[in-house]
């Protein structure tokens, strides 16, 4: 007899999803002005979860007006008063964390283990962290009484719907701005639940407005003449379009875009933990992570040993129902994303890289992709240069630390990097040479609200998190 884990599904009963949702503007839910709606589905089953409003440009205008109206009073509140609301929101998130985790896994497809143990704790921590800053802005290094910018237009991606919302809204509110936020088209639900949390916390009307919709809604928001700040997390392609829209205006802009991070393993690395770090780096959240360690750079002298250990470990990954507590890898977020991953993986094979995946049964309905690695990848391959945004690892090798730096930096991106070595001096030398906004050593994909996050080059500009994250929302 074998030790087969029986299904251990988290209960869906803790979350009550309404059949339809309106736009959250000025503290009220209302349908779009033209009554348009779109459906949001669960990517693991293709089940329709709800219908949400498709905001029209006029709705965007209404939301910006509401935020503008609320700005005067909100920005005039003492920091300690704003902090009270943020602390209250953080506590409500903690209290409702199971409900929100289940919702996030349903709408996004990520495993409940991750939404429960990573997303939700980080969401609450981010609100707690910036709540703490609200009455200490004088001491943030920007002089006395730094002023907010005004109305922030925020557009967030589908990979960490609620966490990206927290990264955007918490610092904006702490510094006295009001916001209009647009969640991603495929994952609008947790932002709408957050709207409910704002009401529960008694947040003044208009301080937070949530408008749902597709790319056209986002475009209308960033182009709106009466917003002072645009914050975007998403693809480099859309980020460039936003930069063009905002160019020539006085809107302040921060962009957090794609990545193609190098995860660099030296021959003196703690091998077992490096394997865990590689797995966590690329298979966490199905690889839908902008800072994913999607390029493994392994020292040639340890390549065979490491790859064998990695393959052995990949065979134990459990792919399946996101709500099963024992699932390691959930569903790909959308059919569109699955097609993009498949196309790049096909290109990898066509260009001669060797594809490997563990034997792994994928569910019949929904969008799925088995954890995959490519060996024999060179810098010239598309899978070494383009962001796949899926559970696909490209393995390259190097001989010396200098070569590792050269290859790691040879990318249009520069969001994150990982270094695995037991030698402290090499770790520090590498960190000083790598052109990436976040560098992890002997770990990967570790986040903390106190630590600034952001990119070099085509990975964007501006920092989120930490003291640095305040600057993006202050007129300094």
């Amino acid at each position: 007899m074998t030790f087969d884990y029986a299904p251990a599904p988290e209960s869906r009963a803790v979350v009550d999803i309404a059949p339809s949702y309106g736009l959250f503007i000025d503290g009220e839910f209302a349908p779009a002005c033209d009554g348009k709606v779109f459906k949001t589905v669960s990517p693991s089953s293709e089940e329709v979860l709800s219908e949400v409003a498709q905001a029209h440009a006029d709705d965007v205008d209404r939301a910006v007006k509401a935020a503008r109206k609320a700005f005067e009073k909100w920005s005039a509140l003492p920091g300690a008063e704003r902090a009270k609301y943020l602390f209250r929101i953080a506590r409500i998130i903690q209290e409702r964390s199971r409900e929100l985790a289940v919702l996030e896994s349903l709408d996004n497809g990520k495993p409940i283990r991750e939404s429960r143990d990573a997303d939700l704790p980080l969401v609450a921590a981010h609100f707690f962290y910036y709540a703490g800053w609200a009455d200490k802005l004088d001491h943030a290094g920007y002089g006395q009484n730094p002023r907010p910018l005004g109305v922030a237009g925020q557009v967030i991606p589908w990979n960490f719907p609620l966490l990206m919302l927290a990264w955007k809204i918490a610092p904006a509110l702490a510094t006295g701005n009001t916001v209009v936020l647009k969640p991603a088209e495929t994952t609008p639900l947790s932002a709408l639940f957050f709207a409910d949390i704002c009401r529960q916390a008694g947040l003044p009307k208009g301080v937070v407005n949530i408008i749902t919709g597709d790319g056209s809604t986002g475009a209308a928001l960033v182009a709106h003449p009466d917003i002072n700040k645009v914050a975007f997390t998403g693809s480099t392609e859309v980020g460039k379009a936003i930069a063009r829209t905002v160019a020539g205006t006085d809107k302040k802009l921060t962009l957090e875009l794609g990545g193609k991070a190098a995860n660099i393993v030296f021959d003196d690395a703690p091998i077992d933990q490096a394997v865990e770090g590689i797995v966590n780096g690329i298979f966490f959240n199905q690889g839908h992570v902008c800072c994913a360690g999607s390029r493994l750079l392994v020292q040639e002298s340890v390549q065979d040993e490491l790859l064998d250990a990695l393959k052995r470990r990949m065979q134990t990954l459990r792919v399946g129902d996101p709500l099963d507590k024992n699932t390691d890898i959930g569903a790909i977020n959308s059919a569109e994303q699955l097609a993009r991953i498949t196309a790049l993986v096909d290109a990898g094979e066509a260009e001669g890289a060797e594809r490997w995946a563990p034997a792994c049964e994928l569910p019949g309905s929904g969008y799925w992709f088995a954890p995959t690695l490519f060996t024999g990848v060179t810098q010239a391959h598309r899978i070494a240069r383009e962001e796949i945004f899926g559970p696909v690892l490209s393995v390259l090798t190097f001989r010396t630390p200098a070569e590792a730096v050269e290859k790691a930096n040879n990318t249009p991106y520069g969001l994150s990097a990982g270094i695995w070595t037991e030698k402290g001096s090499r770790m520090l030398w590498m960190a000083s040479k790598l052109r990436a906004g976040v560098i992890w050593s002997n770990t990967f994909n570790k986040f903390d609200p106190a630590s600034p996050f952001g990119g070099y080059k085509e990975s964007g500009f501006g920092r989120e998190g930490g003291r640095h994250g305040l600057e993006a929302y202050l007129n300094v």
Partner: protein
């Protein structure tokens, strides 16, 4: 696939076929590693050349495995498996033949109300109680394990330790749980520890019996080597001592005596499982693992079984290759077992107190 991973440790020409550490062929396999144990310098270089352990990463992995949710049929399987893996232990100055006999009776029939409950793997006692336990257990199939070598401190001269071991073996012990000389290990005298384990292994041979064959009467007692990881402190030390003991012929590696402040922990056990996995990949020799001390609840025991399952796999999921050194764990397993079969929670009065 696995043997290439092992190249760092030993240049093997062929993929090794698995042999048990207590089997006849194991000695030959260990001989293939003779170069690393040839002298003090070689052994030291080898042990210090093993990959380092990142403490944060190791603890995070153990914690993640601890979040596995084991329910219904999987839980029933795990509970019965855990019961069958227990070395039911009494190691007190106050032990008496009566106490040992009571424990033996419990080991054979853990749940007096349900005879379908599996029996435990062994009864673990001090050497002077071996004969009593052996008699009480009869032909039940439950083994007698005896601690030896001046347990728990191990602070005695080698001849005393060997005499202690021989005495327990002569009295009928099926398994010997020895302690290493932590002082020698911590001061870097690795060869001394290596030689001592080898000597104790030789002392496990039963006079007149065929050595190194199937367990049971007449054969050599199986050797479990206790590291007292709470005293070795660092994870790097745990990986090194695991290899050291396996190279010296340990049949099982065991975390703790249960007599110090820190006993078995999930990260330490995970690390030892990884060492066993790598040693198996290098030599083909299968070695068992026994966490001991501090494992009191079904929930904890299941976490350990999950670690075994996802690190070593099915081959190790038997009492031959994984044990729990525990005393109070058994009653919690029995209460959970009753809950699963009846649907009601029972209480401490529905299991036996010994």
């Amino acid at each position: 696939m696995t043997w290439r991973y092992a190249r760092r440790y030993a240049p093997l020409v062929t993929m090794p076929i698995t042999v048990p550490a207590y089997g006849k062929e194991a000695a030959g396999r260990l001989a293939s590693m003779a170069d690393v144990t040839a002298d003090d310098g070689a052994l030291r270089r080898f042990l210090h050349g093993l990959p380092g352990v990142d403490a944060v990463g190791l603890e995070a992995r153990a914690a993640t495995l601890g979040t596995r949710s084991i329910k219904t049929t999987a839980k029933a399987y795990a509970i019965d498996l855990a019961i069958s893996m227990i070395d039911l232990t009494t190691l007190e100055g106050a032990d008496t033949p009566g106490k040992v006999r009571a424990l033996c009776a419990k080991g054979i029939h853990p749940d007096p109300t349900d005879r379908t409950s599996p029996k435990v793997a062994a009864i673990c006692v001090y050497p002077d109680m071996v004969a009593t336990a052996k008699e009480a257990l009869g032909d039940s199939g439950v083994h007698v394990a005896s601690v030896a070598t001046a347990f728990p401190a191990g602070r005695a001269a080698l001849p005393v330790k060997l005499a202690d071991t021989r005495d327990a073996v002569a009295a009928g012990a099926d398994e010997i749980d020895m302690v290493i000389d932590r002082g020698a290990f911590l001061s870097g005298r690795y060869m001394e520890v290596f030689e001592e384990i080898k000597a104790v292994k030789e002392a496990c041979a039963r006079p007149g019996g065929t050595s190194q064959t199937e367990s049971g009467g007449g054969s050599a007692a199986h050797l479990k080597v206790i590291f007292e990881t709470g005293e070795l402190q660092t994870y790097d030390n745990v990986r090194r001592v695991s290899w050291l003991a396996m190279l010296a012929g340990a049949d099982f590696i065991k975390t703790s005596t249960g007599k110090v402040a820190v006993n078995a922990t999930p990260p330490v056990t995970l690390l030892m499982l990884e060492a066993v996995r790598d040693f198996h990949a290098a030599t083909g020799v299968q070695v068992g693992v026994k966490p001991a001390g501090g494992i009191r609840t079904t929930k904890d025991a299941i976490k350990y079984l999950v670690m075994v399952n996802e690190t070593l796999g099915e081959r190790w999921l038997t009492a031959d290759w994984f044990r729990f050194g525990a005393s109070s764990l058994l009653n919690d397993l029995l209460m959970q077992r009753q809950k699963l079969s009846t649907g009601r929670y029972s209480g401490p009065d529905y299991v036996t107190v010994d």
